[in-house]
């Protein structure tokens, strides 16, 4: 039983994968057996990872709930805490708080087609949902995945990508930005929103997207162009967070706290938010 809202539990770094030159994935195992057995989350939720003495930062949980013994987070080196995480070695201990926030709809979309659109490290929040969707594949109609990065070197989860490419129950299109291709590249070359329009999935599908803000902006425009309903277009928002539970007061967009009412929002909900994100 944890007695404090803001006090983390200890997790051990069990595995480190260098995804790209500046992105690492960490596999974490909780030390506390009770915490470990009680732990449950849904794709889309996030957590806070602490490097003790440095601080805490927010990450989405990047592994699906059915991988029960551990969780994974992917960390791009951008600031103080993320740099400290990049310096960690296998066996290091970190603090973990979570899961926090809302999650992607799942059962609600049974019987429909799903379109995943990811860019760069933005595949991280989608990854657990993709695996979850594939684990209940018969409950969905078509499943599309469009994923791109600046260059071949910037593509994350290369093993996952390989598996998804080889499966015939997911229509996977990969792309890199023009100039980001190399001689071995067998995917598309072009920006993610353009590829989305080219693939042109049926507009009665649910579209779930995550990536850099500029990509999301254009994906939303493309989704609109393709005729998707704003209520069927889903993304996650990122704001500076400290507490994760809606009390520290800094992640609000209007009266919504991204940590508590989000991070998952539909385009329909986003259209009602003031323009401050």
């Amino acid at each position: 039983m944890r007695i404090e809202t803001l006090v983390p539990t200890v997790a051990r770094v069990e595995e480190i994968r260098q995804e790209t030159p500046d992105i690492r994935s960490l596999r974490l195992v909780f030390e506390d057996e009770d915490f470990k057995s009680d732990f449950a989350f849904k794709p889309g939720q996030f957590c806070l990872i602490s490097v003790l003495g440095v601080g805490e930062a927010v990450f989405c949980i990047a592994s699906p709930p059915q991988w029960e013994d551990f969780i994974e987070v992917s960390v791009k080196e951008v600031g103080k805490v993320t740099s400290a995480i990049h310096d960690l070695e296998i066996g290091a201990k970190v603090g973990f708080r979570g899961p926090y926030g809302n999650w992607f709809p799942f059962e609600e979309n049974f019987g429909r087609s799903i379109v995943f659109v990811g860019g760069g490290i933005g595949l991280a929040p989608l990854r657990p949902l993709i695996w979850q969707t594939l684990s209940k594949r018969d409950r969905f109609r078509d499943v599309y995945l469009i994923y791109g990065a600046r260059s071949v070197a910037d593509l994350v989860y290369k093993d996952d990508l390989k598996e998804w490419s080889s499966r015939d129950d997911i229509r996977f299109t990969k792309t890199v930005d023009p100039g980001g291709e190399d001689e071995t590249w067998d995917g598309e070359v072009g920006l993610v929103p353009q590829i989305l329009e080219k693939v042109s999935p049926p507009s009665d599908s649910v579209l779930i997207t995550c990536g850099p803000p500029i990509m999301i902006k254009f994906v939303l425009l493309s989704a609109n162009k393709l005729g998707f309903r704003p209520g069927d277009v889903i993304t996650t928002l990122e704001m500076k967070m400290k507490c994760g539970v809606g009390t520290c007061g800094r992640c609000n967009i209007g009266n919504k706290y991204v940590c508590r009412h989000g991070p998952v929002f539909t385009l329909e909900e986003m259209e009602k938010l003031p323009n401050e994100f």
């Binding site: 404090e4 400290k242 539970v245 800094r250």
Partner: protein, 322 residues
């Protein structure tokens, strides 16, 4: 009716019974809530303390846990708190406690805040005077308003008449043998500052974007005085105060007027002081109303009293709605 001497004897008695008493103490020009050493320290003559009951419930900084990097240990830090009697808070400060309760013990419970609140009894001394910054009546409260108090002492002929307000107050009174008073209270003081809040929420609902935000925030220099002294502002930061291998993680007051408040490594969603000031007004008069059904302002007037550059919240609200 209880005279000041009666009251001092009561406080001494409570202290003797193991209660920590927090009360207004004057030190040079400043009156602030402090843990009382002796009842004679209490100041009865001030309008309002500089600090608020946040110093008891959500202090300016507190240790959340201690850590040891080598041992990878995280040890929550909590000093079991004795029951605290807050004596001599004003009605506005007591009312503010109910707002923080709704926010920090509502949909999500802040465990530290909640434990402090459980242990806290609020014995208010209602106001016999108001200054030019006071505007509690405009916010729906008043100089003798009992909201948030467990027991309230109303000024009466140079002393106070004590009334029970809450069950907690009733229990406390019977536990310490506090006799309640019959007798009439003096009339409430008149407040010079008065605005109507009609239409403010409606204006804020419609005007996230308005050139008025720049105008009303002109004088603001983006310090945190109004926030830190506000009885309802509750935003905080979490930071490690580190030694090389051991240290503490702290919760520290933070403030939406600081530019770094929302700044991320790659993105700053709130650029410009007028947008930061807008957040302050929106948070108090719209977002909190949307989320808990109350305005996060009790009209205590500290932000007006202590703003070094004369930003005046009642004037701002009127200018916005105008």
């Amino acid at each position: 009716m209880k005279t000041i001497e009666d009251i001092l004897r009561l406080i001494e008695d409570w202290q003797g019974k193991g209660y920590t008493v927090v009360a207004p103490v004057r030190s040079e020009g400043l009156v602030s809530f402090e843990v009382l050493r002796a009842p004679s320290q209490i100041d009865f003559d001030h309008v309002l303390t500089v600090n608020t009951l946040k110093d008891v419930t959500l202090p300016r900084c507190e240790t959340l846990f201690k850590y040891d990097v080598e041992k990878a240990s995280i040890e929550p830090s909590w000093e079991a708190s004795q029951p605290i009697v807050v004596f001599g808070s004003r009605p506005c400060d007591a009312a503010a406690v109910t707002i923080l309760d709704s926010i920090l013990m509502g949909e999500v419970t802040d465990s530290r805040y909640a434990r402090r609140r459980e242990n806290m009894i609020v014995v208010t001394l209602a106001c016999s005077q108001a200054d030019e910054a006071c505007f509690c009546t405009s916010m729906g409260y008043g100089p003798h308003d009992p909201t948030g108090s467990d027991i309230i002492g109303l000024p009466s002929k140079g002393g106070y008449v004590f009334r029970v307000v809450s069950q907690k107050g009733k229990d406390f009174a019977s536990k310490v043998g506090l006799e309640l008073d019959e007798g009439r209270a003096d009339p409430e003081p008149e407040l010079k500052r008065r605005i109507t809040t009609d239409g403010i929420k409606a204006w804020l609902d419609e005007n996230f974007e308005s050139p008025k935000w720049e105008k009303v925030s002109e004088n603001c220099v983006s310090c945190g005085a109004c926030y830190y002294l506000c009885p309802t502002c509750h935003c905080f930061d979490i930071a490690d105060e580190a030694g090389a291998s051991r240290g503490v993680r702290m919760r520290i007051w933070d403030c939406c007027s600081f530019a770094g408040f929302t700044k991320m490594a790659a993105h700053q969603p709130r650029v410009g002081k007028h947008r930061r000031y807008r957040q302050r007004i929106m948070h108090k008069f719209k977002y909190t109303v949307d989320n808990i059904g109350k305005t996060a302002c009790v009209g205590d007037g500290r932000c007006i009293r202590y703003c070094p550059y004369g930003v005046d919240i009642t004037e701002v609200l009127e200018a916005l709605r105008e």
